[in-house]
Symmetry: C2
Subunit: 245 residues, 2 copies
């Protein structure tokens, strides 16, 4: 097999809980792929693209990943989260997705929605997370429109959600814009972690909860944001900025 | 109208977030009814049934509740949570549920599943929360079976979930039993709050997070609990034991 058919993997871990989004709290295994087409100012997974972990990248075949999931996770799980970086850069994920489904596992995937892949139609819990102004990135509305339209056409509306991280008032204006563009898609506003290097989990948790409380308060006062959810990142509250949990 | 058609209301507040369950984080208004057929040891809403707030109970008609929701909540919400106590004691909720739906609002309701009401078929987000051994209560499996069977027959499987609060290892065994009895119903294990009177929110949050971390760890090691979610109570993390938020 050519290396085009392998998947650049940085982490395989679990079972743990999904800390974010529509399936928050779900028992899941994680496969974290390397590489991102963005470089968000506050990226909490910068090691996937900034070169700092490039020696840890393993180019793995789908079967190898399946083996390792079994070895690490035992048999007490039924759900796998594909995370990044931006896993939607990788056409080679198609085979892994098929293999996981054949074994009866369901699959979550998060992407900023900047790249199309046919296999996006197969994801059970697809979170599109376009990045707000504070990230320093620009949203590709054409690709985002396409993904959402294709899921709708293919009757895969269920399991689709939009999630916007909000750090400040400008980000909140952006969140309103996203929600109004796609009013039928379940919409999640996520409290950001502006301190992705803090090493004291208790202090970080108290700080993140205060920021989350402010965001909740702000969204509760909005007339435009009605049919929405406001969520924290549970893994950051539980384990701070540790990797691999 | 006779008083049988009124609803005993203890609190109307919001918008705030739903702190628990399948629609965790959802922007919602709350209507808390008085009265419960249980008396759980660790009840965090004991004022709804222990007599301590009996002078605050208002016997309200559906239209009065709708008026007050509008006055308190403005227009920036589209979801109402009916909470208790056990709201399933009240046949008089039928009219309120109809009126809310007519206005386009969706409705969440939580009950321990000890009483049947026809209007349980109308609830959009129905959480059945049978109580574990640590509560001191006994589960009425016959009624619980009936509610779940009726929702399935009526094609209202969607929006149904089971939630079990877990305080200790015996409760976890009970959770496994519930999950195995209804394997197709989305299943949530919720970290309990064994300190419903603490008044220091930061300290309580750190303590609740540690208990939640232990529960997550325990469920992650279980082979039986695969297709499950483990969630905290967000409102307790945010606001401690305060009422009306
Ligand atoms: S899109 Fe995600 S992984 Fe990529 S830089 Fe932004 S936050 Fe990091
Ligand atoms: S069923 Fe709910 S409201 Fe009733 S006593 Fe138990 S915890 Fe409290």
């Amino acid at each position: 097999m050519s290396s085009r058919e392998t998947i650049p993997v940085l982490e395989i871990f679990g079972p743990t809980i999904q800390g974010e989004g529509l399936v928050i709290g779900r028992k899941t295994m994680f496969v974290r792929t390397a590489g991102c087409d963005y470089s968000c100012h506050w990226c909490d997974s910068a090691f996937t693209w900034d070169g700092s972990a490039k020696n840890e990248i393993r180019h793995m075949h789908a079967e190898e990943i399946l083996d390792e999931l079994g070895k690490i996770g035992g048999s007490g799980w039924s759900h796998v989260t594909l995370s990044g970086g931006n896993p939607a850069l990788l056409s080679s994920l198609a085979l892994l997705i098929d293999n996981l489904h054949e074994r009866g596992f369901s699959i979550a995937l998060e992407t900023q929605g900047s790249r199309w892949q046919e296999w996006l139609m197969e994801i059970d819990d697809l979170t599109l997370s376009p990045k707000p102004p504070s990230s320093g990135m620009k949203t590709d509305w054409i690709v985002l429109d396409k993904i959402i339209a294709r899921r709708k056409e293919g009757d895969r509306n269920e399991g689709l959600s939009l999630k916007v991280v909000v750090m400040d008032e400008i980000d909140l204006t952006y969140a309103v814009q996203v929600h109004q563009r796609y009013p039928d898609v379940p919409f999640i506003i996520q409290a950001g972690n502006d301190d992705p290097t803090s090493t004291d989990p208790d202090k970080l948790a108290v700080k993140l909860l205060k920021q989350y409380a402010c965001l909740v308060d702000r969204v509760m006062r909005s007339e435009e944001l009605r049919n929405v959810r406001v969520l924290p990142q549970l893994h950051a509250l539980l384990w701070g900025n540790r990797r691999g949990v």
